[in-house]
């Protein structure tokens, strides 16, 4: 007999009438109780610093403390929005962020599906374990690797180009190629890690569905199209929405290690600018203000994307 499996995410929120409210609250009392420690934690350790973050609107003086420092309103925001390179910074940040998302996610999903589908289980375990190793390498190490591959002097790739009769390309110092270096090297490093997540999602899909499909004579491609992909759609949507919420986080650690002055025009992002201008110059208020700015943009994007996701994919966070 066929089995119907209904994920709870498809159950719409039930409107509660006041009379039933107490009953429902009593039913869920354990849930609230369990969430209590986390709630307390959030208030202290997440909202606490947010309270301190009001220094973004103040001229913070350590001797006066957070409360005693004078208000300056949006002055810090103006400073960096009006700064010389602001548009360029935003543009670069968005390009990196979106590039990594648009190119990286499909690759990770495909890898996960491939791992999920393969019959050679020992091989699968092996590949699974190996594929996520680059995630553990710091960008400092990756930079060394990239130098070996891409250096115009004696990099492997340039040696191949030269032997084929071409001119060596300075991948790391040319604005034309730097963006690709950043995006592709990030995908290179992080694909394996993302794959873990998607693979776990695939494993949660009931095998009964696959059995039924086999009985119906489905080809592998059909299996993937009609079972695997829809099965992990919630995860994909969730991760996409979350990443859009952090759209202005383009990967400070990576860029900081890889970039250099010749590629500032394409490589300088919001965080690297803040690092040079704010963190090292004692301008904490500025750095905090930029954090708020990022959050505001992310919020807008998240709300818009959430609505779109609800309409298109039937999935949403909110």
């Amino acid at each position: 007999m066929s089995v119907r499996v209904l994920p709870s995410s498809l159950i719409p929120s039930i409107k509660i009438y006041p009379k039933n409210l107490w009953r429902v609250l009593r039913q869920y009392r354990w849930v609230y109780l369990l969430m209590l420690p986390t709630f307390v934690y959030f208030v202290i350790f997440k909202y606490g610093p947010l309270w301190n973050a009001q220094i973004a609107f103040k001229d913070f003086k350590p001797l006066l403390g957070v409360l005693g420092s004078p208000w300056v309103g949006f002055e810090h925001f103006k400073t960096f929005i009006d700064s010389f390179y602001f548009t360029q910074l935003i543009r670069n940040t968005l390009i990196f962020s979106l590039g990594k998302l648009i190119l990286g996610m499909p690759i990770a999903v495909i890898c996960a599906i491939a791992l999920h589908e393969t019959w050679f289980l020992r091989y699968r375990t092996f590949v699974q374990t190996m594929i996520y190793l680059p995630h553990f390498l710091s960008w400092v190490i990756m930079f060394g690797v990239l130098l070996v591959l891409l250096s115009p002097g004696n990099g492997l790739i340039n040696e191949i180009i030269v032997s084929l009769g071409g001119e060596p390309i300075p991948f790391l110092t040319s604005p034309d190629t730097f963006r690709w270096v950043v995006i592709l090297s990030d995908i290179w490093k992080e694909t394996g890690w993302s794959t873990i997540l998607y693979l776990a999602a695939l494993l949660a899909i009931s095998p009964d569905l696959y059995e039924a499909a086999a009985v119906d004579g489905a080809t592998p491609i059909q299996r993937i199209r009609y079972i695997s992909l829809p099965g992990i759609l919630p995860v994909i949507v969730l991760i996409t929405l979350l990443r859009l919420g952090h759209i202005l986080e383009a990967g400070f650690n990576q860029i900081f290690v890889l970039y250099s002055v010749p590629v500032y025009s394409v490589g300088d992002i919001l965080d690297t600018w803040v690092y040079r201008q704010g963190v090292l110059n004692f301008q904490f208020s500025l750095a905090t203000a930029v954090g708020f700015f990022k959050g505001a943009i992310g919020l807008v994007l998240l709300l818009v994307a959430n609505r779109a996701a609800k309409r298109i994919a039937g999935q949403s966070i909110y």
């Binding site: 929120s13 934690y41 350790f45």
Partner: protein, 291 residues
């Protein structure tokens, strides 16, 4: 099982090839790290790191120097403490929240979700957190490293997504049998959530294991520093120190030490994942829903 049509065989071979290619591409940096870590000093100084390493010319000198560093055992132990403690605290705080959020009919769920998302979007930054931690007198304490990042909203929502994906029938049948929500969580949900618990647990563990900036910021006592900080100290000396009249390590090149350090830091995580994988079995729901 699957019928062995010709399409399927072709498909399987295609997949295998694809995976092998991915494997090779992705492992190039890793391979280079290994080669660099074991390369003898004289070869390195002569020609840098060659792409392919001759199997007869290895040395574990770099590893030896790091592992026999007087502070290494203590730093490694500190890292283990931070990681275990951190992962435990993180999971303890994350699971109930994720579960609560996964119940669509929970009153106030939208408020809680907004509560959580605001934190996700607006990260206060270094100084506000620092002011809070020092205000709580948590300097020189591992909790300063663990508590601020203890709950990752990303991880929470991913876990929530998984809980949501579990069949509602299971919970319903348990409720009909008279179980309250706590029992539903413990008896039904958690056993079925091994993959996600282990995955998120791994995510947290890796995060804590690699933390090095917050330890630098909050720990003053040298006995407390974790492994990444120790390795970083070992490796940045030449970068900033113009007073290079003394070279503490002379039988390995700096590059080798860097790579050996990376490898050592990676090793525990490398070993844990295959062990966890045993629990990632296909069909964790078999036997739960039929009928």
């Amino acid at each position: 099982m699957h019928t062995r049509t010709r399409d399927t065989v072709v498909f399987q071979i295609g997949i295998a090839i694809f995976l092998t290619i991915m494997l090779f591409i992705i492992l190039i940096p890793f391979w280079r790290v290994i080669v660099t870590a074991v390369i003898p000093l004289d070869i390195y100084t002569r020609q840098g790191v060659p792409f392919f390493l001759s199997p007869t010319k290895w040395t574990f000198e770099a590893f030896k120097q790091l592992l026999t560093h007087s502070m290494f055992p203590r730093a490694a132990l500190n890292s283990v403490i931070i990681t275990v403690l951190g992962t435990a605290i993180s999971l303890f705080l994350t699971v109930p929240l994720a579960y609560g959020l996964s119940i669509r009919s929970l009153p106030g769920r939208k408020v809680i979700m907004a509560f959580v998302l605001i934190i996700y979007l607006f990260s206060p930054g270094l100084i506000p957190v620092y002011l809070l931690i020092t205000g709580m007198k948590l300097t020189n304490n591992y909790l300063a490293i663990i508590l601020p990042p203890a709950v990752s909203v990303f991880n929470t929502l991913v876990m929530m997504g998984f809980f949501e994906g579990l069949p509602e029938e299971l919970k319903e049948s348990a409720r009909l049998d008279g179980a309250n929500e706590l029992q539903v969580l413990i008896r039904i949900i958690l056993p079925l959530s091994k993959p996600i618990l282990l995955t998120i647990g791994l995510f947290y563990a890796v995060f804590y294991w690699n933390e090095f900036f917050t330890p630098i910021l909050y720990l003053n006592d040298n006995d407390l520093i974790p492994l990444p900080v120790l390795l970083r100290n070992i490796l940045i000396s030449a970068s900033f120190n113009e007073y290079v009249e003394y070279n503490a390590f002379s039988s390995s090149s700096l590059e080798s030490l860097k790579s050996a350090g990376v490898f050592i830091t990676m090793l525990p995580m490398l070993l844990i994942y295959p062990w966890i994988q045993r629990y990632f079995t296909k069909g964790t729901l078999v036997g739960g829903v039929k009928g």
